[in-house]
Amino acid sequence: MSILHANEMTVSAANANATETLTGAGFEELKARLAKEQRAIRIRRFTSNKGAVFGLVVVLMVLLLAILAPVICHYDPLALDTVNRLKPMSLAHPFGTDTMGRDVFARVLYGARISLFVGFTVGILSGVLGMVVGLYASTNKLADNILMRICDGLKAIPSTLLAITLMAVLGADIRNVIMALTIVSVPSMARLARGRALVIREQTYIEAMRCLGASKLRIMWKHMAPNIISPIIVQVTFVFASAIISEAALSFLGAGVPAPAPSWGNILNEGKSVIYQAWWIVCFPGAFTALTVLGLNLLGDGIRDFIDPTSEG
């Protein structure tokens, strides 16, 4: 902007009869107005997308619930009270009690911390890694063969065994569950990204960038990445949901957080065996998972529109 501006000044001075050009101040004012307007459009575009706003509200609400858990609910999620186990919803226990008499409402709130943490980290990690692998695989042939074959191999390893062995070697820790789930989710993400990237690479604007002498890296990240973001976001929300559920299965194995600590997944697990008598134990964590996934997905769509204005998606 500044170069143009300077040049403009000199020219108009020399050529008095040049047609009227924007003076320095006017230009500045126009640039500001356009930038403000562009931002207003984007925000209006985001807020007008009711779904995205709803998604944002839901995700924020769940995050708040998780953070403010101690304030909202005075029950200790680990306190046993076997006398009144499997009690239905009541004022004392808004979500009822589980097989050990612990308050399900407290466990769901505290459980949100682990579940969201695992869900987000696995989702985002596998999203980024998947995109990196997908992009590199789509750009050069050799990388394509090696990376894709590794992915095929990785996908065959059951994540149970992976989690257990990571646990055996590195000790029981939530990080191992995240590592195991990420390793298992990256291959499918990478394959999706590669599929999209192959299509995008054929587009004329990518060739145009190549003509402009843009480096491969720049093309990949500045031009191809935003265009393959749309399916990636859909897949991330998918990985987020399955991570929450799988985390439970692994932590039930002791691979992740030890049993007494609550997470949506292992509440679901415990509820499963008493589903006929105490359906509420399964209901609430399931509902929270569904709600979070719904919110995250709508938010994802909103963000994608925010980033990629052309997408109708």
Partner: protein, 552 residues
Amino acid sequence: MKKRNRRAAAAVMAVAALLVTACGGGSSNSTTAAGASAAADTSGSETGSSAGTSSAAPAEGTKCQDTLHIAVQQQAPSLDLHKNSSLIARQMMDGTVFEKLVTLNSQAEAVPELAESYELSDDARTLTFKLRHGVKFHDGSEMTADDVVASMNRWIEGFSTASTMLGDARFEKVDDDTVKITADTSLLLLPPMIAGSAQPAAITTAAACKDEDDNGFMKQYIGTGPYKFTEWVQDQYVRLDRFDDYVPYGNKGEEMDGWAGYKSAPTQTLEYDIVPDQATASAGLESGQYDIIWNVSSDDYPRLEANPALSVASAQQGSVALIFNHKQGLGANQSFRQAVNTALNCDEILTAAFGSGYELGSCYMDSGQAFWQTDAGSEYYNQHDVDKAKQLLTDAGYSGDTFRILCSNLGGSDKMAVAMKSELEAVGITVDLNIVDWATLTDYRKDPSLYDMYITTFAEVPVPTLKLYYGTNYPGWSVDDKLQSMFKDMTEATTMDDAKAKWEALQGYSWEYLPIICPGHYLGQYAWKKELTGVNMYSGGPKFWNAGIPLA
């Protein structure tokens, strides 16, 4: 032989009955046998239980539904009863396909089945069996003394408790219909062991004993029972069909006494379908697909009981054992062990795992073994006295290091561990839980440096000598001169009353020394269609020799 072990690695687990492939639409595990555990580690035989035999068998000749669909939760590693102690294998095969020289009556006494009679020498060093004649094997051959000797000796070699007790003593043939065994220790308690231990002494043909596969398991299952083995489709079902020329014993029409008596086998085929998920099994029962289901969870029990079309039953299944590691660490200190014992609330622990499906009782032997009942040492049982526990902790010089509990994720052990953790933390012991899967537990408990206590369950045993944890090299290592000598006196007893007296002394001292803490015993709960009659609920689960659904 030990493959290099991973002691150095941190706590670890895999899954036994649970599935958890997480990639993609993975979801939580499928079964938590909240009810009775069917862990492979159930030893000891079953003795009488209060429930006794249930409704009378269908009258002779009434036409019954030809196939009984029985939904069981787990699949046995093998059906060779000599070589594995899994409860499910016994429930299917013991008394149904294989019969034994002696079996248990309702008083848990060993009564003749394939033997005509048996007698113990005065010095209790020799046991002689007179065999029945004309008993047919499933392959058509007739039972001979050679078959019995081969079977009994294969049983001894495969069953560690028997082989340690009998040393090199083996069965030998006296004549065509008598066999005997002579040992340098009292054989007083051998008959109940033959009748009801976790690896029952099934009688099969000598040829079958030799015909083993590469893993040392019998290839064919040839017994003398009312049903013969037809087919086992891995992970799907085990099918047994009626053996038409079965030679019954006992008198027809009379109700069975425990496991002994006339077996009419009214149903043509018994099909044990393997249904891993308990919720599916009960749904299958209600939808009529299955006639009987196993392992009803105690929370589900009242609902099925209320269903008019079904009838339910429960029987002693086994007892819980919290086994200290006496070799090193916190568990080695007796007053620390007593402090832990004082702090625990057995009701809460058992409710956490079994809901209402349990019975309290200070005696290590459950209520099914009336003869061995004693309340010796009961003053130490189920105290949950926080102050006294704290006092004992200071006596033990406890300085706050973590008390590590190892348990499997099977049969509610992890739930018990969680309950114990909060109770022990209440008295100031820092507790660390280490949940592993079954295969890992059996591996890890062999290393004293990894845990201070582990949780497991034992099936009913007819005699206290079958309590494994009294063995010095059994994981837990209760090496204590007084304890060992009292145990030895009991095994040496030559009369039942003498054995009972020694057992009472041992039980009393056990509550002080605390080789284990036995919080109580849990029940096996079952449900079946109302029309089904003649189910033998004597012990260790239903038996269907006289059971059938009479067709209208």
